[in-house]
């Protein structure tokens, strides 16, 4: 599998570290339902069979965290951007 890093170009996936689903966002820790929200954030996953936005870290490259849109059935990658800011998309 090759990941088109916005900085480094298409590189083998073994240069990257995987974190998982990019959808969960860190909840407000001061909210009254923070315990439940954090449980969901840390543990619960949609685990879709199909396109999924996910976080990869180019550990052996530019050290940028990327948001990669990849189909979990075919491994086909359709979009990549820097995580967090969404810049550098391609």
């Amino acid at each position: 599998m090759r990941i088109p890093c916005p900085y480094c170009g298409a590189r083998s996936s073994h240069e990257f570290a995987y974190l998982g689903d990019a959808a969960p966002t860190r909840p407000d820790p001061s909210a009254p339902d923070a315990a439940e929200a954090f449980h969901s954030y840390v543990y619960e996953r949609d685990n879709p069979a199909g396109p999924m936005d996910e976080l990869w870290y180019h550990s052996a490259g530019c050290r940028r965290w990327l948001k990669v849109t990849r189909d979990t059935r075919t491994h086909a990658i359709t979009a990549v951007a820097f995580a967090g800011t969404g810049e550098g998309g391609r």
Partner: protein, 417 residues
């Protein structure tokens, strides 16, 4: 349906093997059952078998979307062992070992359980002490374990690299009762035995939806029509999220690809199972002579049932590092399982989370060895509406309460377990 016996074998040798009947009925689904088990792999079939045998519930359907054993039950490395560390896990896996030890007589089917031992190699004092902790935990649970020094390992596996290794072998933790079983035969044995107790094994029957009454699950929609039952158990490993999505449930699991490999057939070389933790490599030798080996998961969510080259290379590197005489032996076949990795690396066998629904999932890369105990405990959980002491720790709400069972200590990241 006849038992397998000396007499039946001789009779069929004389009649050209024409006296055998189908090993199990190819059942058509009835409209209602007492219990529906979704998933015709080892865990689902074992659950049905123990429901019928231990709990007297015989009006059971096992629904399988393809044919029995077409998922992970036929895509693993066939290892059985109970060398776990944590108190939530070890008694369960030790019960599984005990069920393996009596399986052939129980099922009247030779699953080729072969207790030739497992050795987890260690390479430092720290690893030795960590394995001592584990070995002691095993003893506390009534399992067998031995801490071997370097020379004891050498005596058992002289072909390992003791002299030129980047991480010299200092010893190993051995469980002599561990070993392998013939994975397909386990599936077929449970299928045949469950069928003999009246269980309907319905193949080519894919679940496409759930029938609800209020919150409760009261049946399933399938490609072969609606089937109702007051109790629906899921035993579908990496496909669990696909089904629970239909119920708007999000679970602490991810589906990942785990590759495994077999070499060409060889005369006996490897005595039991050997694992090499400084790389990602473990190996055993099948009854047919192939070296069966594997390593790490590919590391990203996947439903593709296949993996990529970097992991193949990583596994081979681990193999060559620890067993350098395998360089000229050849990898014959690679396959990929769709494993249900959980957030703490440990399984879930639980009532709920909806009325009428029962979960059996999160087997990570280790579901095969659990097959008998998983079925046994899941059957108990379904029949009695509560967990057995052996699976009491495998609750879904442990992630809420913090009673996580993390053998590796890597945290809530499934691909690291």
């Amino acid at each position: 349906m006849s038992r397998y016996s000396f007499l039946s074998l001789i009779a069929n040798a004389l009649n050209g093997q024409t006296g055998w009947k189908p090993a199990w009925r190819d059942a058509a689904p009835k409209p209602t059952y007492d219990v529906i088990i979704v998933g015709g792999g080892g865990h689902g079939l074992a659950t049905a078998y123990y429901l019928a045998k231990e709990h007297g519930i015989r009006n059971i359907a096992v629904l399988e979307k393809a044919h029995v054993g077409s998922g992970n039950a036929g895509r693993n490395t066939t290892i059985i062992r109970s060398n776990y560390l944590l108190p939530g896990n070890e008694p369960f896996y030790e019960w599984s070992m005990k069920l393996w030890e009596g399986l052939e007589q129980d099922l009247n089917y030779n699953a080729m359980v072969s207790q030739r031992g497992i050795i987890n190699l260690f390479h430092s004092d720290g690893q030795r002490d960590a394995y001592a902790r584990r070995g002691n935990a095993m003893r506390l649970a009534g399992a067998d374990s031995q801490l071997l020094d370097r020379e004891q390992v050498r005596a058992l596996a002289p072909f390992l690299d003791f002299d030129n290794a980047r991480f010299p072998i200092k010893g190993g933790l051995m469980q002599a009762r561990a070993g392998t079983a013939r994975h397909d035969a386990v599936v077929w044995g449970y299928a045949r035995a469950a069928d003999r107790l009246g269980v309907d094994i319905v193949q080519n029957c894919e679940v496409t939806g759930f029938i609800r009454e209020g919150d409760a699950v009261v049946g399933v929609e399938t490609t072969r029509g609606a089937i109702r039952a007051p109790k629906v158990g899921l035993a579908v490993a990496g496909s669990t999220s696909r089904l629970t999505r239909l119920l708007d449930l999000r679970l602490p699991i991810e589906s990942h690809a785990l590759q495994a490999f077999v070499s060409e057939g060889l005369k006996p070389l490897v005595p039991g199972v050997i694992t090499f933790g400084m790389g990602h490599f473990y190996v055993s030798q099948s009854d047919k002579g192939g070296l069966v080996f594997g390593g790490d998961i590919d590391g990203y969510n996947s439903y593709a049932q296949r993996g990529n080259l970097p992991v193949v290379e990583d596994v081979a590197e681990g193999g060559m590092a620890v067993m350098p005489l395998i360089g000229r032996l050849r990898m014959l076949r690679a396959w990929g399982g769709l494993v249900d990795m959980s957030m703490d690396g440990s399984p879930i066998i639980d009532v709920g989370p909806l009325p009428g629904l029962y979960l059996n999932t999160a087997w990570n890369y280790g579901g095969f060895k659990a097959t008998p105990a998983s079925g046994w405990c899941f059957a108990h959980t379904i029949a009695r509406e509560e967990a057995h002491a052996l699976n009491a720790a495998f609750r879904l709400d442990r992630f809420r309460t913090g009673h996580i069972i993390d053998e590796k200590g890597v945290g809530a990241q499934p691909n690291l377990h």
